[in-house]
Amino acid sequence: MSQGADRQPVLEADALSLRFGAVHALRSVSIHVLEGQIHAVIGPNGAGKSSLLNCLSGFYRPQSGSVRFRGKDISILAPHHRAALGIGRTFQGIQTYPSMTARENILSGFHCRMATGILGALIYWGRVRSEEETFSERAEAIIDFLELEEQRHAVVGDLPYGLRKRVDLGRALALEPKVLVMDEPMAGMSTEEKGDLARFILDIREALGIPVVLVEHDMEVVMAISDRVTVVDFGEVIASGTPAEVSINPRVVAAYLGGNVA
């Protein structure tokens, strides 16, 4: 996996600091996600990984520092505006819309790409109809990509865990993201499901050309698929580099296994 120096940064966080009262969730954390890369964020429980992701997608507002998307400062944008710019996000646990079908879940991701007004929605006239058709076709392309054909009309609340996670991923892809932010996609999955999902993540990078930011606990997966790894501990970045580099970094080893670092 190449480490091209000419790659442009897609999503950057600079010196983010986030406090909840006396708790410092993040202390001056920086991360630079480059075009075409799978960038993993790892660290022990409570290290601040999810806080970092929530700052990237706008759910938390850090007290200081900035978030840039393709060079543009987006620190003050609301989450739905960031989504419209092209920051896709998948969630920890099950966060799909349970009462909708798999296809409706995916279609809901197109909300900010569609132009129908409220009057058009009530009348459902010609142009609204054809817009729905266009986006149904695009939703079907995602269904095809994620191999969800059998489940397209199944109510998501009735699907097993692994499939719901795939619907979650499909909904994020419907945002037509320029970068995909994934929070612990592998948690709670069987080995087979993990293998499938790892393959999808690689496909998203290779076939769709979308860079991925990934928080993950499964080291095997992280080491196998990521191009770059940032290690966070107690709200601070303690190492950053290729998987091979960070896995021999003494501070990383200490953070994971305990012990003092000279």
Partner: protein
């Protein structure tokens, strides 16, 4: 689920409201029956149906706000009242009714936005309480305003609808008039559900935290749900005003708001079909019980006790319906249809 052998070949086909030709035939039969009904019914039953159609319009609105977007609204009757008073006022300026009804709907929609603003901060029971404020404030404001504006305690008379040489006044006129309006609103309610706003509202109901990160502006969608729900209420109010030809604050009570919610819950909050079934079920149950009580009274029973008992019986029926089908009659209907289609194989 669809019967065997029904396939969609286009996406448009897939998005249809009525998927099978059998469903379309049933709808055609229903429309013919409703059109032919006045030939067989007396003015009393036509009045009952007119009232049912108007109630259904208001409950469609509640379906949008409560059913789709999950924003509890216990002030629907007040919003119907806003529509009714707007219609009474506008009709006084000799504006054509084709313009009065949309204007009344829009006025109601904009009034509702004010009461939707707390939805930015509160959910569930707390939001229910803030909408309760709308219901309580409505008569206070009407009574506090100068009598020349909205009639105050006395109320306002409404100029009747004139179409060509015809002035709408007879029960049969109102029957057909409200039938056409409710048919249009039915199509609108079903359309909204399959549009991007329908999905956005359901997304907000199912998981508002995630919806925001997935590109759905949550606050705007909540306000929109109140706005659209009140458009329906406004049309219901306009029809009420034209039907009664007189509006007073006493017609738009908290009691009515709670009934609207009750009808939606009995029918099922998750589809416009639930609104239809709930309104029809409760209206006909009420009428049936009254008719039954009348028959008993003619055979000598005491009226006061009897009519109190009809309310008890009505409450009991609603309770039973909810205990056996908490997800509403619409869900029971879809279960029955699936069972029928899979027969002789068991469901699941």
């Amino acid at each position: 689920m669809l019967p065997t052998g029904v396939h969609s070949l286009t996406y448009a086909d897939d998005a249809r409201i009525l998927r099978t030709s059998r469903a379309r035939h049933w709808l055609a039969a229903l429309v013919v029956a409703l059109l032919a009904y006045p030939a067989f019914a007396g003015p009393y039953m036509l009045g009952v149906f007119t009232h049912l159609f108007i109630t259904l319009m208001a409950v469609y609105g509640l379906y949008v706000t409560v059913g789709m977007a999950g924003q509890i609204n216990v002030a629907q009757s007040a919003f119907v009242g806003v529509g009714a008073f707007a219609t009474a006022k506008l009709s006084g300026y000799e504006i054509h009714f084709m313009l009065v009804i949309p204007l009344a709907a829009l006025i109601t929609g904009f009034v509702s936005i004010f009461f939707a603003l707390p939805a930015a901060r509160v959910k569930g029971f707390y939001l229910a309480l803030t909408t309760l404020a709308a219901q309580v404030v409505f008569p206070i404001i009407i009574l506090a305003l100068p009598t020349e504006w909205l009639g105050g305690l006395v109320g306002m008379s409404v100029e009747p609808i004139r179409m060509g040489g015809l002035t709408l006044g007879a029960p049969i006129h109102f029957y057909y008039f409200t039938l056409v309006v409710v048919a249009l609103l039915t199509v609108a309610a079903f359309n909204l559900k399959r549009s991007r706003f329908g999905r956005a509202m359901i997304a907000v109901r199912d998981n508002d935290v995630v919806a925001e990160v997935m590109g759905v502006p949550v606050f705007r969608t909540k306000v929109l749900a109140f706005f659209v729900g009140s458009l329906f209420a406004g049309v219901a109010g306009a029809c009420t005003a034209y039907f009664l030809q007189f509006v007073t604050v006493a017609s738009f009570t908290l009691f009515a708001s709670v009934w609207y919610l009750g009808m939606l819950i009995v029918g099922g909050v998750h589809s416009p079909l639930g609104a239809i079934l709930g309104v029809a079920f409760i209206t006909f149950l009420q009428e049936g019980l009254h008719a039954f009580a009348n028959t008993l009274m003619q055979s000598g029973a005491s009226g006061g006790v009897l009519f109190a008992l009809t309310s008890v019986a009505l409450g009991g029926c609603i309770l039973i319906a909810l205990i056996f089908e908490p997800r509403g009659l619409a869900h029971r209907w879809s279960v029955a249809r699936t069972t029928f289609q899979l027969w002789p194989f068991p469901r699941n």
